[in-house]
Symmetry: C2
Subunit: 445 residues, 2 copies
């Protein structure tokens, strides 16, 4: 395969919505619903306040809504801000093979375009699904080597997905789609070093904006290399120690990464979910109180300690990168939603005391969605739980009812209940919408 | 040195203009003059037309001029577009130790800010010099390993320089300057694969815009890692195979990279300059005509073939990456300005015939500013020239008169002569300007 980029671009250009299986389309709808809830829910976070305050004076015409807020921005800045909001709680979707959060870069781009450039719901869904395919396949081709180096793959692969989706909406021809991927790829960026800071959610937002800008530039004839993915100085060689281009091209249109998207029941990195799940199960089964607990022992996948090993988080954001805080909150509150990652909860004395009793040990044979939890009580009892597949995994997915409950928990914190509920129902009807711009309008405060 | 980023940020925050040696300030003025000429000269290139057409509908208030044109943009987009224009001819400045083009990312940021946020010429010059120090020192710390991987270092290091310069103008404190560098660094991007396409000039423009945005976000309290440069998953580890942080911090305020900036007499990559210089010298000394030439043999630094080995360029842009075209043009026209890289010149039959007679051989002991040229004539004569240091090198710098002539050649192609001349004189007076925004205003068409 010498022309990986061209092959992928041509597939996006030629794709017909009708050829996408109904189950894949439904996965796309579920992803869009989940993204919308996350973007509305995250819209009042101070990260978004700061970004809006910084960028508003330089923003263009009021073309696109900021979900959950009253401000409007030009569609490039709206993509940036909505993309940040959708990821700021670390509560968005996850492509488990790569830990990419697929919707952030892609949905943020297409939703921001829809108010300014009329499109049907089917067009939006089609572009979204193609964008997710592009980013996840590119991610597959370099994961895990690319991630191990320190790249935040949601940003680095996401920019390609945003460009493909925006390019599909613009109706780019094959050459222009190649250029769009090239202009996008040469902006690929984002360090894992930024985890735990506001820059983490900046990455999917920037990917959405930069990918959309790449498609807009390519539309005008702005050129790039034709081989951004495969060239010796292109993405897969420069930004990864190894690569497999078959992952990009094999089974296009037959195997759909969109159908492998998953949704988080807990508002933190997916790698801690098994531990939280196990702690909540033991809590509920035994009516546990924090004061009863002598120690909590976890046996976890090594990635848990690598990504979420913060022993003494100081803020809610840092709490999301602490398996210790997360398990303490799970045992005390029986949940790990956004509320359990408020600054005050992280600094709560009862939480901190229990947090210090949590120990985690990595073992190479533990899968990412697996955990062994052992809670020793002050009365000498030892409670054990082996979670084989955490809730939210492909083997134990959240059903539509659970997705709705998650959406409500996020959207009702920001919008009036009736408005939040109407938005939820609009999301389910996305494929049939005559004007997909209605989604962003309905989500604005 | 465990806190490289903090050390550098603190130095920028604490820097006083008066402490900068006069010779360094004068280097800064020369760099700004050269950048202004390049930005005006490049402003009508189709790359800029395409970018303006793509981005205008999404741009903010008319805060900043596009040099050489009548459009105004918000200061973020103006930085992007002016940065592209200043590099589109590959005629801008060069920091020879790293092949960074320092002014593109930094000057484009400060000039775009100056019309919207009043500042004196001294403030602008100060911020510019600090930005150049930051980007070149960061470049020094990872060059050549970073460049060898395939990164376009002007973009990847330039974004830090733009953030530092913009942050200095905004008066950021130490913590916010650290965040500005972090938000900038996590956007660091740009592949060498894009050389020969419009994306090459996109890189310094994007660096200018993204670095400025980073400073604006940090001003509002937007957080990043405090260790973007030195962290195991930060810039210098993720994007380079080796690094030396002493290059960032050693001799700050004593040794000035700005004083090592150089200017191109020829409108192409600096690595071909020795060959062009040698060919022009032989042409002028012997009154050469193309028809007299049987063959041209070059012995060059290996980088010449790696970067500019295009045998059969099809466009002017590709011609800049062809040592063969460049030498043919030098022998026929006695110059290698922007005119010699017009599409028509690259496709000219006489040029193409002579181009095919040029051979280049790499030898490891040839320095980057050195060449051996041997021209064999049809009458059997063999003309030889050993260029030890190409014109434009630190050993044979362009003097102010030559810089003026280069400026005139660029600016008078775009602006009326009187306006171009007034702009040139304004650039020389930069340090004393009460309102640095006058520079951009004077450069607008």
């Amino acid at each position: 395969m010498t022309e990986v980029t061209r092959h992928l671009a041509k597939w996006v250009v030629d794709s017909k919505f009708d050829a996408i299986p109904a189950a894949v389309r439904q996965s796309g709808v579920r992803s869009m619903l989940n993204w919308t809830g996350c973007a509305v829910g995250g819209s009042r976070h101070e990260t978004i306040d700061f970004a809006i305050r910084a960028l508003k004076p330089f923003s263009g015409p009021a073309q696109a809504s900021i979900l959950g807020r009253s401000e409007k921005f030009d569609m490039l800045n709206a993509a940036l801000i909505n993309g940040m909001a959708s990821h700021v709680f670390d509560f968005d979707d996850t492509h488990l093979k790569t830990i990419i959060h697929p919707a952030g870069p892609v949905a943020s781009a297409v939703v921001a375009m829809a108010e300014h450039r009329p499109m049907t719901g089917a067009q939006m869904l089609h572009a979204f699904i193609l964008g997710v395919e592009v980013e996840c396949r590119i991610g597959n081709s370099v994961y895990p080597a690319h991630y191990d180096i320190g790249w935040h793959i949601t940003g680095t692969a996401g920019v390609f997905g945003a460009a493909a989706a925006a390019g599909k909406i613009l109706g780019l021809d094959e050459q222009r789609m190649i250029w769009a991927l090239g202009v996008a790829g040469t902006q690929s960026s984002g360090f894992r070093e930024m985890f735990g800071t506001m820059c983490k959610s900046f990455h999917p937002g920037a990917a959405a904006r930069n990918g959309m800008a790449a498609a807009l530039l390519a539309e005008q004839g702005f050129t790039s290399s034709n081989r951004v993915l495969e060239a010796p100085r292109g993405f897969a060689h420069v930004m990864s120690a190894s690569r497999d281009f078959e992952e990009v091209t094999r089974g296009l249109g037959e195997v759909w990464e969109t159908a492998l998207n998953s949704y988080k029941p807990f508002a933190c990195g997916i790698v801690i979910h098994p531990a939280i799940d196990g702690c909540i199960q033991l809590r509920n089964e035994h009516g546990l109180k924090a004061a009863d607990v002598k120690s909590v022992e976890l046996i976890v996948d090594p990635l848990v300690l690598e990504l979420t090993g913060k022993r003494t988080p100081q803020t809610g954001l840092e709490g999301k990168f602490s398996v210790y805080h997360s398990c303490a909150a799970a045992i005390i509150h029986g949940a790990a939603g956004e509320r359990e990652y408020a600054d005050a909860v992280v600094r709560d004395a009862e939480i901190m005391t229990l947090r210090d009793k949590v120990q985690a040990r990595a073992r190479d044979d533990i899968r990412e969605d697996e955990v062994f939890v052992e809670i020793t009580l002050n009365d000498g009892r030892v409670l054990k739980k082996h979670v084989e597949h955490a809730i939210g995994s492909l083997e134990r997915p959240m059903d539509d009812k659970a997705l709705n409950a998650k959406f409500d928990g996020l959207a009702r914190d920001v919008l009036p209940v009736a408005k939040a509920d109407a938005l939820r129902e609009l999301c389910w009807k996305l494929e049939g919408l005559a004007n997909a711009g209605d989604l962003a309008k309905a989500a604005a405060a």
